[in-house]
């Protein structure tokens, strides 16, 4: 901190993709920039660490994307998942700008690769980072360092000090020491609040304490709360979070991609009482995995149990922990903490409702049960081939929807109008565009597009 100027042109709160895009853009326009990253070096990058691709509009094939993906198709995909809960103007801005982001990302050190195995369905729409999100974060930090951007780690911003329509300074705790950071412009890119279980519990109910947080433990929403308390305009449902069903043995925080389970379509899923509660074969997994977090969250104790037999164990991506295994259904039930009689009854009822027919693991095969209250409408095969396998499922929170409302210049507003020197980018404002659901790779698009806009606007403001 000794070589810091008294006042920076721009202070960026956060150290993930959006923060880095803003900082790099502003520094290249000539601004002196400080990045305040709340995490220590090994955990820098927020949830960007866990990402792996960037959804990108493109008119013709451009490495690593195949075919074309135009604005309307992209918007349709977004409308489908958000059920219309989006700001179409901002959404179109993000989509249109994504195309020029791809070469920009490459010019700033990000490397891409053809889509990963198991994700061929995304090769046209999503550009995969070589090495994943942490490699992207590393590349941006190196670029930032080369540009002379100052980076403070373990820098927890406690308060954003506002006077009338301007921000004057930040109260920060850097590695435990209080520091006042003065700057002429500010970009907030410090993510959502999903790692604050108390906040989640207030919004969702006490059940939220049983949720696992898939990403960084550092997104506690301190800055978001502070801004909302100061009357910043908000957007997005404050009670909702995006959650998927993940391996119940995952770490409480930061389990990331490996904790996902793709076994549901080939399983029967029981609740704590040994009953099935939803059609496991409703649609192909990429279209259904996002609803299972919510489904499991609604069950007693927020837990589910996926049971599979030997016929189906190799039909999905490997799990991070080996499944529980037994030669009998009862044995499996006991090992998983389920009542063996109830489990046996549910399996027998399910097996009796299965009908013969062709099974196709990769397409909707229409192999459905008959006569069940909770049917399974595809891939319904009896669990009859030992050994039997089981996975415990828990809701894993990916992100929260509540955020700061921004305009097309990424500027933050209060009830009295725009705050003159404050912009926001990334998850903290993503609710402006993503009101509900999720579209793979779109978080990184929002972060990159609005990070660059915020950086450009802030640099222009101080020039």
């Amino acid at each position: 901190m000794k070589d810091w100027p008294d006042t920076f042109d721009l202070a960026v709160v956060g150290g993930g993709n959006a923060a880095l895009c803003a900082a790099i853009t502003a520094a290249e326009a000539g601004a002196s920039v400080l990045i305040l990253e709340g995490a220590p070096v090994p955990y820098r990058g927020g949830n960007s660490r866990h990402t792996r691709n960037f959804r990108c509009m493109h008119k013709q094939p451009m490495f690593p994307l195949t075919g074309s993906y135009d604005e309307d198709e992209y918007l349709d995909d977004l409308m489908l998942v958000t059920k219309g809960r989006t700001d179409e103007g901002l959404a179109r801005l993000a989509i249109r700008s994504s195309e020029e982001c791809l070469p920009w990302m490459q010019a700033h050190g990000v490397r891409f690769q053809p889509s990963l195995s198991g994700t061929l369905s995304l090769s046209r729409t999503n550009a995969f980072f070589l090495g994943g999100g942490k490699a992207l974060v590393n590349a941006y930090y190196n670029t930032a360092a080369d540009l002379g951007i100052k980076i403070a780690y373990e820098a927890q911003v406690r308060h954003v000090h506002r006077e009338a329509d301007r921000i004057t300074h930040l109260e920060v705790e850097i590695a435990g020491h209080p520091v006042t950071v003065k700057a002429r412009a500010f970009v907030l890119a410090s993510g959502g609040f999903q790692a604050d279980l108390d906040w989640l519990a207030r919004a969702w109910g006490p059940a939220a304490r049983n949720f696992l947080i898939r990403g960084t433990p550092y997104n506690r929403g301190v800055v978001l709360r502070d801004m909302l308390d100061q009357g910043a305009e908000s957007v997005g449902d404050p009670t909702q979070c995006h959650a998927v069903a993940i391996d119940g043995r995952a770490p409480k925080y930061d389990g990331g991609i490996v904790t996902r389970l793709d076994c549901v379509p080939f399983s029967i899923v029981l609740n704590r009482d040994g009953d099935r509660f939803y059609d496991e074969g409703e649609d192909v997994w990429p279209k259904r995995y996002a609803i299972w977090g919510r489904l499991v969250a609604a069950q007693p104790d927020q837990v589910g149990y996926a049971l599979i037999d030997a016929k189906s164990i190799d039909l999905f991506m490997p799990s991070v922990f080996p499944p529980v295994k037994s030669d009998t259904i009862e044995g499996l039930a006991v090992q998983m903490g389920l009542d063996p009689q109830a489990t046996r009854r549910t399996v027998d009822t399910f097996n009796a409702a299965c009908r013969p027919g062709p099974f196709h693991s990769t397409t909707l095969d229409g192999l459905r049960t008959e006569g069940l209250n909770v049917p399974k409408t595809n891939w319904a095969r009896p669990l009859d081939t030992a050994p039997f396998y089981g996975y415990q499922l828990r809701p894993g929170v990916t992100f929260t929807y509540l955020g700061l409302k921004v305009d097309a210049r990424a500027q933050v507003h209060s009830a009295e109008g725009p705050i003159q020197n404050l912009w926001a980018a990334g998850e903290i404002m993503a609710g402006s565009i993503l009101g509900q659901g999720y579209l793979a790779g779109f978080g990184m698009t929002i972060g990159t597009v609005f990070g660059r806009i915020a950086g450009k606007e802030a640099a222009t403001h101080v020039a």
């Binding site: 090994p42 955990y43 660490r49 866990h50 792996r52 490397r111 690769q113 053809p114 990963l116 195995s117 198991g118 994700t119 061929l120 995969f128 980072f129 070589l130 090495g131 994943g132 999100g133 942490k134 490699a135 590393n138 930090y141 190196n142 770490p251 930061d254 990331g256 991609i257 490996v258 996902r260 793709d262 997994w285 990429p286 190799d314 039909l315 999905f316 991506m317 490997p318 799990s319 991070v320 080996p322 693991s361 990769t362």
Partner: protein
């Protein structure tokens, strides 16, 4: 890395986590190969370990390195398994074990003993003979070096055969060999998947230095080998005996080859000093360093011998050069030298396996 597990079991723990992520698929051959299975037998892990070139790209890109509780360090654990596989498969085991505990001392002592031996041999030098053959008869040299070269090669061949069985290598086709040599010729697995190199000595920044220095060493060594081979052909087939003039095949191949080896060795040692030892097999760091040094000394004494032409230094220089060359050959089955053979075997075995299918998501 867990201290409670053997390197093989620790590798299994880490690879099973790794295989559920797959973000690193584009870096090298290890990750696509990994996607073929869900469960990993010892042979599978040995094969992955020998495919790994320790570029370290996956370590810096990994979300799960310590302090994360998964504590992945794939480059280090694969290096451990790799080194262990070479030690396990080396023969004769008695010598291999001695080398594992006292390798550097063994090499040093052998160089000294052999240098004295060659020096002593010059007492029996022939009356006729020009250049260094004036010091040591050609037939004596051949009688010593042919077995000293062929015996270690034969031992390595046996080790590689065992490797092939352990990893379940299939029937070898010409295309597999072409593919493997193509990878080695370009050091494709040190390119980082984007052609900008690896993360060996500059942390999370990419650098091509290791690839460049390795290739200087490898091609330098091959040129020196070709130089010796061409000398042999000229000697026996054409009846043209050393010393050879500057514009002759042995010199035109050997001089640049020797220079490349010296630069390569110096570069590789420099990089090894800069690189983080915790991302490799820390246990054999010293031995690996000594091996690179030995290669450098072989080349340096060879060049020195040429520079000393016509002076009184030829005798002692010849003795030292021959001693280092001989030690390099004799210790080949136990030293880092085997990495070339095992890596090629791993690349050929990989080329012969079905293309990785990947899972569904």
């Amino acid at each position: 890395m867990s201290l409670d597990l053997s390197p093989m079991d620790e590798a299994r723990r880490q690879i099973e986590i790794c295989n559920a992520c797959r973000y690193c698929e584009g870096f090298c051959s290890v990750f696509p190969a990994m996607t073929r299975q869900k469960a990993f037998a010892d042979g599978d892990l040995t094969q992955l370990a020998n495919l790994c070139h320790n570029c370290r790209g996956c370590y810096y890109a990994c979300q799960y390195t310590a302090p994360h509780e998964f504590a992945l360090n794939i480059p280090a654990v694969l290096a451990e398994v790799r080194v262990e596989s070479w030690e396990r498969l080396a023969r004769p085991q008695a010598v291999a074990r001695l080398f594992q505990t006292h390798g550097v001392a063994m090499a040093g002592l052998l160089v000294i003993v052999l240098a004295w031996f060659f020096w002593a041999l010059t007492a029996f030098r022939p009356e006729a003979g020009a250049g260094f053959y004036a010091h040591l008869g050609h037939n004596t040299l051949v009688a010593i070096f042919v077995p000293a070269f062929l015996t270690p090669l034969a031992l390595i061949a046996l080790s590689v055969r065992d490797y092939w069985r352990e990893v379940g290598g299939g029937r070898v086709r010409l295309s597999h060999i072409v593919s493997a040599f193509g990878s080695a010729a370009r050091m494709k697995n040190l390119s980082g998947g984007h052609g900008e190199g690896c993360n060996f000595e500059k942390g999370d920044r990419f650098s091509d230095r290791r690839r460049v220095f390795h290739q200087l060493m490898m091609y330098g060594f091959l040129l020196c080998f070709a130089s010796t081979a061409s000398g042999t052909v000229m000697h026996y087939a054409l009846g043209w005996e050393a010393p050879y003039p500057l514009f002759s095949l042995p010199k035109l191949l050997g001089l640049p080859g020797g220079l490349m080896m010296v630069v390569g060795a110096a570069g590789l040692m420099w990089l090894k000093l800069k690189a983080d030892p915790a991302l490799g097999a820390a246990r054999v760091w010293g031995g690996e360093m000594a091996f690179v040094l030995l290669l450098g000394v072989v080349a340096l004494t060879g060049l020195g011998l040429y520079a000393a032409t016509g002076t009184a230094l030829v005798g002692p220089m010849l003795a030292v050069h021959l001693a280092t060359v001989m030690v390099l050959f004799l210790l080949m089955p136990f030293s880092k030298m085997v990495h070339g053979f095992f890596r090629l075997a791993a690349l050929i075995a990989e080329a012969g396996k079905p293309a990785p299918a990947g899972g569904g998501e």
